[in-house]
């Protein structure tokens, strides 16, 4: 059990990375703190560095720069076996020639745990993972989800494990089993109370599993927060459109010296408008208003739009509206009225933000 601390961790797969060239770095600079017992997700598109970050924590990679601490212990130079970390990989790893029991016992036996204790722990974990009936079978004969449970079980059996890391563990699992395994994970997290870090590019997996989601792009962390925070106040436009379906509307805007944003000549009331916006946008190239479709309302006045089409998504409808060349999406409830052809939209001020060069404008 441990709090995990990353201090200015950088990693490059090159031999001589140039510090000032971002492209040389798989992981630019990451400062993160993970509380003991939390459920975290690392979310981002392929190649954003999330697996690199995970492998740095487990010790499969050594960071080019920066330190890693578990509680107050500096583990930067420790081998994976010495770090009390368990990891579940994308493709199930089982020791083919061993039985399920021996697979689960393997990490304990390697550490010289007494056979009686091994037996007790293995049975306890097998019961937790519903693997009891297969204990005597050869691991090679199990289905993909069974094998993935064994990988997970090898992590859980060790009583000293500080954190369990998952690297897209559901990739090879059949869709109908994915849901079951995911809820199993959630249940296990509540039961064993270990820190779990889950890497995925699937926002549903991340948001349903984690209390805290870390969103990454191009080797950097753009936001770490609860699913609600990511939804209501994305710190970066990438978080805005990567999370949520459909993603956030981003409208090019101007900000006047008083800090009032204007889109299409219409002043837009925003959560971060005013002096903060005036200061924060000075000298920035690209200014945008970001508002999620959920917070776009049809009104008498506001930004004039033409309704192009309405798609029904069951309990709500997605309205594709257009202002000039700019598409504005709105999510409206089943009963809510939608103008026939021409109308106006306004944005909920509390949930509308100004972004400068991709980042939210703030103090």
């Amino acid at each position: 059990m441990a709090r995990i601390l990353l201090e200015q961790v950088r990693h490059s797969y090159r031999d001589n990375p140039r510090p000032e060239v971002d492209a040389d770095w798989a992981l630019r600079e990451v400062d993160l703190e993970w509380a003991d017992g939390g459920a975290y997700a690392l979310l981002g598109p392929s190649g954003c560095g999330k697996t690199t970050l995970l492998n740095l924590i487990s010790g499969l990679l050594k960071p080019t720069a920066g330190r890693l601490r578990f509680d107050d212990r500096d583990v930067t130079d420790l081998e994976p076996g010495e770090r009390n970390i368990a990891q579940v990989f994308q493709f199930p790893v089982v020791y083919d020639t061993m039985t399920v029991f021996d697979n689960l016992a393997f990490p304990l036996r390697n550490r010289g745990v007494a056979e009686g204790e091994v037996k007790r722990r293995v049975h306890e974990i097998a019961a937790m993972l519903d693997l009891e009936p297969t204990l005597g079978k050869r691991a090679a004969g199990l289905t993909a989800d069974g094998k993935q449970k064994i990988s997970l079980g090898r992590g859980l059996v060790r009583s000293d494990v500080a954190a369990i890391l998952f690297d897209e563990p559901l990739t090879v699992i059949d869709p109908h089993l994915k849901w079951r395994l995911r809820s199993k994970l959630k249940e296990l997290h509540q039961r064993v109370g270990r820190t779990m870090i889950y890497v995925t590019h699937d926002q549903t997996e991340a948001l349903t599993f984690a209390d805290q989601v870390v969103v990454m792009i191009e080797g950097q962390v753009v936001q770490a927060g609860t699913p609600v925070e990511l939804f209501e106040r994305p710190r970066h436009t990438f978080v805005g459109y990567f999370i949520g379906s459909p993603g956030m509307n981003l409208l090019p805007c101007e900000v006047d010296p008083a800090g009032v944003a204007r889109y299409a000549g219409v002043p837009i009331e925003t959560a971060n408008g005013g002096p903060v916006a005036a200061r924060g946008t000075a000298g920035k190239k690209q200014l945008q208003i970001g508002v999620r479709p959920e917070f776009v309302r049809f009104a008498e006045r506001g930004v004039p739009v033409t309704i192009e089409r309405v798609s029904d998504a069951g309990r709500y409808r997605i309205v594709h509206a257009r202002h000039g060349g700019q598409e504005i999406k709105a999510v409206v409830g089943e009963g809510a009225p939608v103008p026939e052809r021409d109308g106006h939209v306004r944005f909920e001020p509390e949930r509308t933000q100004i972004y400068a060069d991709g980042w939210i404008v703030e103090e």
Partner: protein, 288 residues
């Protein structure tokens, strides 16, 4: 869906293979069977003898000795080449320029014609002018493979190891390369020792290519002829007269066609039987 047309035209597609196999395997084999049950004195005259030649071969001390030598040779070669090949494959680099260098070095002995291999070792090991022979004698060993049976055997086994270990290395290396990184990573996290990684990851994953390596090396070493003839000619005395050499002496030296035919059939059946045994033992428990 249209109903399937039922006819047997597809058999014509198999016909070329049937003809080919008939001419290069079945018909020659039948000719041997024909010889093995008859006596001939030339002039195309044949007399039916039944199983007499088979009884004669099975009871002859000469055949049993040759078979014993053959089994010993194959056992030695397998016992050295398989572990050595696996060990070299494990020690080879996994990436970088070293891979190509190692692979080329490993492939080299395999590209040399067999009689040349025999000739190389014949000269290399000569006690008076060969590098190996001179060196051994210079170090105080009384080494002469043309006179002492033990020396002849040692040279023979060394030659085969030099010639064929590469094959095992290449197969084992291919098996190792196919293991995904995640296995090694998981093993590191599980705190597995080097031996445990070999025993529980590398060996099981190499099993299938090793089976092929064992079968190939078994069959080839059991049929070895060229290199031995060039190196020792079966001597000194009969000490390195392996089955194939004895067979050639019997068939072409003494022109005893009947016993030679019977012997080759027995020889063939032994290889078939042992190959089947290896295969069955090594794939046992696979379907579970």
């Amino acid at each position: 869906m249209a109903a399937k047309t039922l006819n047997h035209k597809a058999w014509w597609l198999v016909a070329p293979v049937v003809v080919l196999v008939a001419f290069n395997a079945v018909i020659p084999l039948m000719a041997v069977v024909n010889y093995s049950v008859q006596e001939t004195f030339g002039n195309n005259e044949f007399f039916f003898e039944g199983v007499r030649w088979f009884e004669q071969v099975m009871q002859s001390e000469r055949f049993r000795d040759a078979l014993g030598r053959q089994l010993l040779f194959t056992a030695l070669v397998l016992a050295i080449e398989i572990p050595l090949g696996v060990a070299i494959a494990l020690a080879m680099p996994r990436k970088g320029i070293g891979v190509s260098i190692c692979l080329v070095l490993m492939a080299m002995p395999l590209l040399i014609p067999w009689n040349v291999v025999g000739a190389i070792w014949n000269i290399f090991a000569l006690p008076d002018i060969g590098l190996l022979g001179r060196a051994l004698n210079g170090m105080g060993f009384d080494y002469n493979y043309t006179r002492q049976p033990f020396d002849a055997w040692a040279t023979l086994v060394a030659m085969d190891v030099w010639h064929w270990t590469s094959l095992v290395v290449l197969l084992a290396y291919a098996g190792l390369s196919a293991i995904p990184d995640a296995y090694y990573q998981a093993a590191r996290i599980d705190g597995a020792s080097r031996w445990a990684i070999f025993r529980h990851i590398q060996l099981p994953k190499m099993k299938h290519v090793l089976l092929i390596a064992v079968l190939l090396r078994f069959m080839d070493s059991f049929m070895i002829y060229t290199e031995v003839v060039v190196l020792t000619g079966g001597g000194p005395g009969n000490s390195t007269t392996l089955l194939s050499i004895d067979l050639v002496k019997l068939a072409l030296g003494q022109f005893d066609l009947g016993p030679a035919a019977a012997m080759s059939l027995i020889y063939f059946l032994i290889i078939l039987l042992l190959s089947w045994l290896f295969y069955t033992v090594m794939t046992k428990g696979e379907e579970k």
